[in-house]
Symmetry: C2
Subunit: 279 residues, 2 copies
C-alpha cells in the first residue's frame, strides 16, 4: 500500500521527547519515581520501567531520592518538593507557560476558564495555578457558566481548536470583557492540520498512539468526523492480517494516511509505516 506519513506526525512531540531524554539521563544516576505516567504511551512507560524509572500514582508513594514530574505537569504543591527528595521537573515548556499565564490572569481578576478534559493531568496541573478556575469540556458546560465581569478563556495545549473557538464564542455572552488565548501548542496544531489534510485525501487513515492519550484520541475523532475510515492502533503488533486486508479494501487504489499521537515513539511509527507499505 502507498502510505503517506507527514513529517509532523512521526512520533514524539518536543515536550515528550524532552521529558523522556531528561528522565532517561537521570535514571543513570539512580532509581527515579515518576508521579503518574511520564507520557501516555504504555510501550514508553514499560521501557522506562526497565531503565529504572518507576511510576507511582500518588505523592504518598514517593520514597525514592529522585522524583520526576511528568510532561503534563503536576499540582502546584508538588513543585515545592518533599523532604529529602530531589524533584526533577519534566513539565513541557508549553504547559509551564500555561500554568504561569493562568496564575497571572487570576491575579488580574479574570475568571479563568480552561477548555480541556477535567481529569487529564495537564488540566489538573494547570487548574491548580489559577484561583477557582472553571474547566469546560464542551459547549453545554460553557452555557451553564454564569456572568463574570472579566473572563479569560485558555486551552489545554492538546485540545481541538474548533472546540476552543466554539466555547470562546459562547462565553462572549457571559461577560463584557473576554480574553481569548489560543494556547494549543504548535505540535498539536500541526498534527491536527496534517490529519485533516490526510483524512480529506485518503479513504483510510491509521492513527498510532496510546489508548489513554487524549491527543491521539482527538486525532482519531477528527479523522472520523472528516469521513475517513479510521484505524486506531497502539503499535505494529495490532496490525493483524484481517486489519491489513480491511485497510487495503477501504483505501482501494488510493493512499493510506498515517499519523501518530505526541507520545508515540518514532520507532513504533516507522514499524507501522514499514508493515503497511510492504503489504
Amino acid at each position: 500500500m502507498r502510505v503517506v506519513l507527514p513529517e509532523a506526525c512521526q512520533g514524539f512531540c518536543f515536550g515528550v521527547k524532552r521529558a523522556i531524554d531528561e528522565v532517561t539521563s537521570i535514571s543513570k544516576t539512580g532509581e527515579v519515581q515518576v508521579l503518574g505516567h511520564l507520557v501516555h504511551n504504555p510501550q514508553v512507560v514499560e521501557q522506562l520501567e526497565r531503565d529504572g524509572v518507576h511510576t507511582v500514582e500518588s505523592p504518598e508513594q514517593i520514597t525514592s531520592g529522585i522524583v520526576a514530574i511528568t510532561a503534563h505537569g503536576a499540582p502546584k504543591e508538588i513543585y515545592d518538593g518533599f523532604p529529602n527528595i530531589r524533584v526533577v521537573d519534566c513539565t513541557c515548556p508549553f504547559v509551564k507557560r500555561l500554568q504561569k499565564r493562568v496564575a497571572e490572569l487570576s491575579e488580574e481578576g479574570y475568571k479563568v476558564i480552561i477548555v480541556g478534559d477535567s481529569h487529564h493531568p495537564e488540566v489538573v496541573s494547570v487548574s491548580s495555578f489559577a484561583i477557582e478556575p472553571i474547566v469546560v469540556g464542551n459547549i453545554s458546560q460553557a452555557m451553564e457558566i454564569g456572568f463574570f465581569k472579566k473572563i479569560a478563556v485558555l486551552s489545554q495545549t492538546t485540545q481541538d481548536t474548533s472546540l476552543l473557538r466554539d466555547i470562546a464564542c459562547e462565553l462572549t455572552g457571559h461577560t463584557d470583557l473576554l480574553l481569548f488565548e489560543n494556547t494549543i501548542c504548535t505540535s498539536t496544531r500541526e498534527r491536527q492540520a496534517q490529519l485533516l489534510d490526510l483524512a480529506s485525501r485518503c479513504k483510510a487513515v491509521v492513527v498510532v498512539g496510546g489508548r489513554v492519550s487524549a491527543n491521539t484520541k482527538r486525532l482519531y475523532q477528527l479523522s472520523k468526523q472528516k469521513g475517513a475510515q479510521t484505524f486506531w492502533i497502539e503499535g505494529p503488533e495490532e496490525l493483524s492480517c484481517d486489519m491489513l486486508a480491511r485497510i487495503k479494501t477501504v483505501s482501494g487504489n488510493g493512499c493510506v494516511g498515517l499519523v501518530s499521537g505526541a507520545s508515540t515513539p518514532p520507532s513504533t511509527v516507522l514499524q507501522v509505516f514499514s508493515i503497511l507499505s510492504s503489504y
Copy 2:
C-alpha cells in the same frame, strides 16, 4: 389602543441629554457652531438652530467664537482646538471612554477592530484615536481580515450585541490572542432588550426616531427580525389616519409597543403615546 411604553425607551439617552443641555446653556452666552448634527434628530437640530446653535459640516466653516463637538465625538485633531475658538466638548462619556480604550490597546500592540458603521461620526471619531484600526460592519468584512498576533475587538456604543458577538467569534480564528470588549452602552442595551420584549408581546411596534439615527434604525430592524409589524416615524405628524388604522388592525385586541431612539425628544415620544392611546 393600549400602548406599552417602557421607561428605558422614553426619549433622550444620558449622553444626548447631556450634550443638548450643555449646548443650550452655552448658546445663552453667544452664537455656537456645532461640527455636524449635535444629535441625529432633525426636530432637535431645528430647535437648537432657533436657539442660535448652528450646524457646520466641516472644520473650515468654523468662524464663531464657540464650537461644540457633538455627542458622537469628532476626529482627534478637532479636540486640540482652533486659533481664537473655544471648543466645547459634548462627546458622550461612553464614547470618550471608548476613544481612550482604543488608544491604549493600540499602544499595547493590539490590532484594533471596531464593530460599527464606518461612516457614522462616532466610528470616525473613535477610529482616529487608534493606530490603523479596521472597522467592520458585518461578518463578511470580518472574514476578510488577515491574521494578527493580537486583536482587540470593540464596538460602537450603539451597536447590536448579537452582531458584535458574531464578529468576535469569527475573529477568534484570526489570532491567538483576542480581547473582546463589549462597549455597547447601557442605554442601548436596555432599549434593545425592551424592544425585543415588546416585539415578542405585541404584533405592532412603533419606533420613533430620526431617519439618520443609526440606533433607531437598529431598533426598527430588530423589531422586524423578531416578527412584529413595525412602523418607523420621526414624530407625531407622521401618524396619518391611514397609519393609525393599520396599526390598530395589526395589533388586534393586543397592545402596541412604543420605543424611541436615543436622540428622540421625550416630548415627541409622549405626543405619539398620547395619539396612539386615544385612537
